[in-house]
Symmetry: C2
Subunit: 373 residues, 2 copies
């Protein structure tokens, strides 16, 4: 094996986003033991920071030692027991993933599928549930496969009607778009470290309401996973500080620094920055005749889907950007494969410079294909 | 939140071990996308490197995006289906954890418990199984709670007698002690990144034999976990390169560098270094009248358990070492709490200097307690 010196990519795809420089430095500090008192004190601050970014002053937050996808699994496998009914709104790849994980949890899953590229209609979910009691209503706040921002506010009333808890996938919205865990009445939310928070991947922030914790305590069947068992994790993160697994001090200290940067900027300022730079991209795309997949009112600030123009090869364009410019943007997933590009302006990567740069580079790739055929 | 600058601890406990300097630098390289072709090529090398360190040229190896404990769960939940019989040898905290995870997998678990601080007797396991067919025989190679090295070789014959697969917990032995996945006839093994490999925690190397993969393909029930689903992981690591989760390029590149260092040193040289430095600690302890928990023939080179002398307070001594010397050693777990210290000389931390330093510091702490009362 030879030493591996990675190329210096500019990450303007669906995530990871560019890691903030001071976060990379924090990551490389000497390692600490997972029970080191200094680290445990930082973990307390980290939990407080997560409650701030989720806007959940009374929530219970921690970070799983695994990536964002494990957050879905952790929440769903804790809130749902086999045979219980779950109502899921899905209009993209990650809504479908949420439904798959609920099925794997043994739930009786009602999925309401919306058009990829559009927000869901709460009344379609209400109709599908037909008043049947549900344990959980779950949906995706920012659908990373389509670039749609789903307003979760109407779903609290629906969850109440069905006697259900409400869970939200915030993988792409935490730190990039308004998110109000408590004001919106959420019971659980999960996210990742490598998008809006500008940390590296490897940790999954999760947050639970008191009601969700109560539902978990009232389970009739135990949670099968030892690794993701919330009771054991809470004992480590805040209880008796019992050993459960060897959490990575390097990742935790990196996330600590990432949260510090988010809170130093301030959430409203950060949300506005994402919105402002997304608008630069949106108006620039319109000026250059590129079509956006999502209507303006339903767009996710952190991730924009541009339709691949007729006659242009999606993969060839992305390859050119990666090889010539060290620039990563995303392709489409599922039915959108080859149909859209996904440009992420997230976290440290959300800047006017990057918005203009991505668009300029993409237009160069398109022009070149058209010229060369 | 204030910026967090970690103290510079010397990690001579049960793990994490000191991260090798070039691994910390590799960790802090700019982040890459999880589907970046450059990263995918490094992941191929990483798999080859893992096959080398496991000594499994025909094995299927990869690293889970989670810590060592998840390796137990991943392997057990794949190899065992609800109701199937599992035979587990346990003589320590991690043997007990293995049994608990097998129970959580719904297995019919036969646990043979040995004395903490001694190796198991294969005939005790044979007797307990009483010839009943088992799906899996599983045990711990290096029991980190007691400092015992368990020779897994006699268990292949036993597993064959019972028609079982053989799985081994190599969390503390990978890269520190002779381990021969193929020559010993193992079907599955798991480890961590932060001990013998001198990387940070956050990745769990796992390895499967062809027979184990066949058993997984022949399952009657699906694996519940999406995050740990081997078929999906293999599709990402080596198949269609399908997106499954956002693996951390920073962690993967750090592990790549860690494996490079291991293979540059050479496994036999590395095993000998661990053995040699452990012997410095063992003989030094004997000279100073400190008693070792484990008989010499059964000792783990990477981790030594010293009995806390009568009248000495374990926690007070460890606190003094941490606060005055920035030196971490481990305390006892379970029934050994307050009874032993655990000194790890692992990976980059296995040196004669550290062996003498740990012992000298510990003796200072003991002397001080005796003097001050």
């Amino acid at each position: 094996m030879l030493p591996a010196l990675p190329p210096d990519r500019l990450l303007l795809g669906p995530g990871p986003s560019p890691t903030a420089p001071s976060v990379l430095l924090a990551l490389a500090r000497p390692t600490l033991g997972h029970l080191d008192p200094w680290l445990l004190a930082r973990m307390d601050e980290l939990r407080a920071g997560l409650r701030e970014v989720f806007r959940a002053p009374n929530g219970t937050a921690l970070a799983l030692s695994s990536t964002g996808t494990s957050g879905i699994e952790h929440v769903v496998f804790h809130l749902v027991e086999p045979g219980e009914r779950v109502l899921i709104g899905s209009s993209g790849y990650f809504g479908a993933r949420l439904a798959e994980i609920a099925r794997r949890a043994g739930a009786d899953v009602i999925v309401v599928e919306g058009a990829w590229g559009r927000a869901l209609d709460p009344d379609a979910l209400r109709k599908a549930a037909a008043g049947k009691r549900c344990k959980l209503v779950a949906l995706v706040h920012g659908e990373t496969s389509t670039g749609v921002l789903q307003d979760p506010r109407p779903y609290r009333a629906l969850a109440d009607e069905l006697g259900a808890l409400l869970a939200l996938d915030c993988v792409t919205t935490l730190g990039t778009a308004p998110l109000e865990f408590e004001a919106w009445g959420l019971d659980a939310a999960w996210s990742c470290s490598q998008k809006g928070l500008a940390c590296v991947s490897g940790l999954a922030p999760v947050c639970f309401s008191a009601r969700a914790l109560q539902a978990i305590r009232a389970r009739r069947t135990p949670v099968a996973s030892f690794y993701f068992d919330l009771a054991l994790l809470l004992d480590y993160w805040g209880g008796a500080r019992g050993y459960h697994h060897t959490a990575s001090s390097n990742l935790l200290i990196a996330l600590h620094e990432a949260l510090r940067l988010v809170l130093e900027e301030g959430l409203p300022a950060r949300w506005q920055r994402h919105e402002r730079n997304a608008r630069v991209l949106w108006s620039g795309a319109a000026e250059r005749g590129l079509e956006l997949l999502v209507p303006e009112a339903e767009r996710l600030p952190a991730l924009t889907t541009l339709k691949v123009p007729a006659g242009v090869d999606d993969a060839r364009a992305r390859k050119m950007l990666l090889e010539r410019y060290d620039l990563e943007i995303g392709g489409g997933l599922g039915p959108l494969k080859g149909q859209v590009w996904r440009i992420g302006l997230m976290g440290h990567g959300s800047s006017e410079r990057n918005a203009r740069l991505a668009l300029g580079a993409l237009c160069t790739a398109i022009d070149e294909q058209r010229r060369r055929g």
